[in-house]
């Protein structure tokens, strides 16, 4: 009987700890009321939109990143988490100081509002540098995903 108790005492808990990440919930999204997005993030989106100069064909550029990650239902936080981390790769584009500050504000501000675990950093691939088209598209999709979260939160409050 004692050897049976030791198996359960020392065997099961490690198994539970190993399986815990699989069964854990998504990122905790803060700022669902939209105050941070409206008063801080939107200002940086607008300033970056003025600074980035791209061609008109940029809209049709669908990168592999967007094919693999999208702001689908119940996946908004995950997409924002990946997209925000992707933005950090553009900080080395040798743009102006204000450009980098606004880009950092969107990236770090989004990550702070999501409060996701930092385990997924390893899976982020390095993006090509000096790809303003991809950056503009990425910023647009981040803004759209935020609007989707906030709109869903308002509808939930109405019900």
């Amino acid at each position: 009987m004692f050897h049976v108790s030791f198996r359960y005492i020392f065997g099961i808990p490690p198994l539970i700890l190993a399986l815990l990440p699989v069964t854990s919930s998504d990122c905790d999204i803060k700022g669902k009321e939209g105050k941070e997005f409206e008063h801080v993030l939107m200002i940086s989106f607008n300033e970056l939109d003025k600074m980035i100069e791209v061609d008109s064909n940029c809209v049709n550029n669908e990168s592999n990143f967007f094919k693999r990650h999208s702001c689908g239902d119940s996946k908004e936080a995950a997409f924002l988490n990946r997209a925000a981390r992707k933005l950090n790769q553009f900080l080395k584009m040798n743009m102006s100081e204000d450009f980098e500050l606004h880009l950092s504000r969107i990236s770090e501000g989004t990550l702070k509002l999501l409060s996701c675990p930092s385990k997924e950093e390893k899976n982020v691939k390095e993006q090509k540098k000096n790809d303003p088209c991809f950056l503009k598209t990425l910023l647009q999709k981040i803004k759209t995903c935020w609007n989707k979260i906030l709109r869903g939160n308002k509808e939930h409050k109405v019900w």
Binding site: F2, H39, V40, I43, L101, S104, G109, K112
Partner: protein
């Protein structure tokens, strides 16, 4: 195996018991080593607590105070604290860095940076050397202190009797803290009364003149505070005061002198017009506006007014005692004379033109006759001595002149009023009608109209004695 497990469990139990005892002893030993036996432990703790309490501080932030740069300013609540080796550090919610040290300027610590993320909380610590003495968790967007407003202007609008207060603020051009609530305070300068406060969200205020004291100097100032759902903070510093003077009562109520004179003259004119209208209403205005229809009775009464004083109309023979009266033969003469007299009246003269002139008219050249006698004509020597057939003997007693009238003269000195009986020189052997008292007014006839148409109704014997109006008119 069955023989080994009881032994193993026993060993585990003994081991755990030993470890527990060791940990207990360690805790007890470590607990006693830090205490003084004489009871000085409590004093040491009190000193630390009081010293730590003196390190309480407060901070405020100003966003976009210098272009894109934000500022953070901290200071100890106790201004007398010795802050020689003390520093402030902010960590968290920063872009690209973990922590920033504040710069010291006398007793104030501040920093200007763009790296505030403006999302999430930060930690501000007081450090002595490398050790954190006390820390506070703050959110930079919740301790915002706006910049003070400036350029206050007060403009008086005379037509509206109010004051328009405008001011400017640098936050109108900022990206983050744009929505502010402004507090305008004003008071009378000399009285130093309590300030009157007005809150508004825009930069324009209207003060009514009637709510202010006249002819007084006022002082006014403004401050601001963040007023949005995300940014919060403290009141800004007061703006520089501005002063304005309210107009005096006389000036406010004084009318334009020209306008005042015109209004007084107009009022007097209206009053005079009203008085004149009341006075002249019956006599002048009403007859024009509402003319009365002629009343024949009244008209007749006016015509038959009381005669003049000198006119003595009477049928009493005694009144004519001084007059020579010649009797007239019979009724025929009387009727003829009456008919003649009727023809001599002015409205009846036209009738006489149409009446029996035909019988007595002897042709267009026949002179017309008129006979009228008033008592006036009997004054003096004038008397009627008209004898039938002796025209020349007839006098013209009716002439107002004092001289005795002579029928032949033909009336050279005709009076303006034809009261007399005039005889043409050719009319002889005709009896003249006896004098009859008539009103002088009746005899004011148009000689032209009567000269040719008026004939007596006398008989053929009297044709010779008729008066020729035409001759009379000519003589005039």
């Amino acid at each position: 195996m069955l023989q080994l497990s009881p032994l193993l469990s026993l060993r585990m139990t003994i081991l755990s018991t030993a470890l527990g005892t060791v940990f207990y002893l360690l805790q007890a030993v470590s607990g006693e080593s830090g205490y003084a036996q004489n009871g000085d432990v409590e004093d040491a703790e009190t000193d630390d607590c009081s010293w730590y309490s003196q390190l309480s501080f407060s901070c405020y932030s100003q966003l976009e105070v210098d272009g894109p740069l934000h500022s953070l300013t901290c200071a100890f609540d106790n201004p007398h604290i010795n802050s020689t080796n003390l520093n402030f550090e902010i960590c968290g919610s920063l872009l690209g860095v973990n922590c920033l040290n504040l710069n010291k300027l006398q007793n104030i610590y501040f920093i200007k940076t763009k790296t505030f993320s403006l999302i999430g909380d930060s930690t501000i610590c007081v450090k002595l050397g490398g050790k954190n003495l006390t820390c506070q968790q703050v959110n930079v967007v919740k301790i915002v202190k706006p910049e003070a407003p400036f350029d206050i202007k007060v403009i008086y609008r005379e037509e509206a009797n109010d004051f328009v207060v405008t001011f400017d603020t640098s936050h109108l051009k900022k990206m983050y803290v744009k929505q502010l609530m402004h507090d305008i305070a004003y008071r009378q300068e000399k009285d130093k009364k309590d300030w009157m406060h007005v809150n508004l969200s825009n930069t324009r205020l209207t003060l009514l003149q009637r709510k202010l004291q006249p002819d007084a100097m006022y002082e006014i100032k403004v401050r601001s505070i963040p007023y949005s759902e995300y940014f919060e903070g403290f009141w800004s510093e007061w703006s520089p005061s501005s002063r304005f003077r309210t107009p005096a009562v006389n000036r406010a109520g004084e009318m334009n002198p020209v306008l005042l004179i015109i209004s007084i003259v107009s009022f007097i004119s209206v009053v005079l017009l009203v008085i004149l209208a009341c006075v002249l209403w019956e006599k002048r205005i009403k007859p024009i506006i509402w003319p009365t229809l002629p009343d024949h009775k009244k008209t007749l009464e006016q015509l038959c007014k009381k005669p003049k004083k000198n006119l003595n109309v009477s049928f009493n023979p005694e009144n004519f005692s001084d007059c020579q009266i010649h009797e007239v033969d019979g009724i025929q003469s009387r009727d003829e004379v009456e008919g003649f007299l009727q023809n001599t009246l002015p409205p009846q003269l036209e009738e006489s033109e149409q009446q029996g002139l035909g019988g007595d008219v002897h042709g267009p050249n026949q002179p017309s006759r008129i006979a009228a006698i008033t008592p006036e004509t009997f004054r003096g020597d004038s008397s009627l001595r008209c004898v039938a057939g002796n025209v020349s003997a007839c006098a013209t007693p009716l002439l107002p002149s004092s001289r005795s009238p002579d029928c032949r003269e033909g009336g050279k000195n005709e009076p303006p009023v034809y009261q007399g009986l005039l005889l043409s020189p050719g009319t002889t052997n005709s009896t003249l009608p006896p004098p009859f008292p008539l009103q002088s007014e009746v005899l004011t006839l148009n000689p032209i109209a009567q000269a040719q148409h008026i004939l007596t109704s006398l008989g053929p014997n009297q044709e010779e004695a008729y008066v020729t109006m035409s001759s009379f008119y000519r003589n005039q």
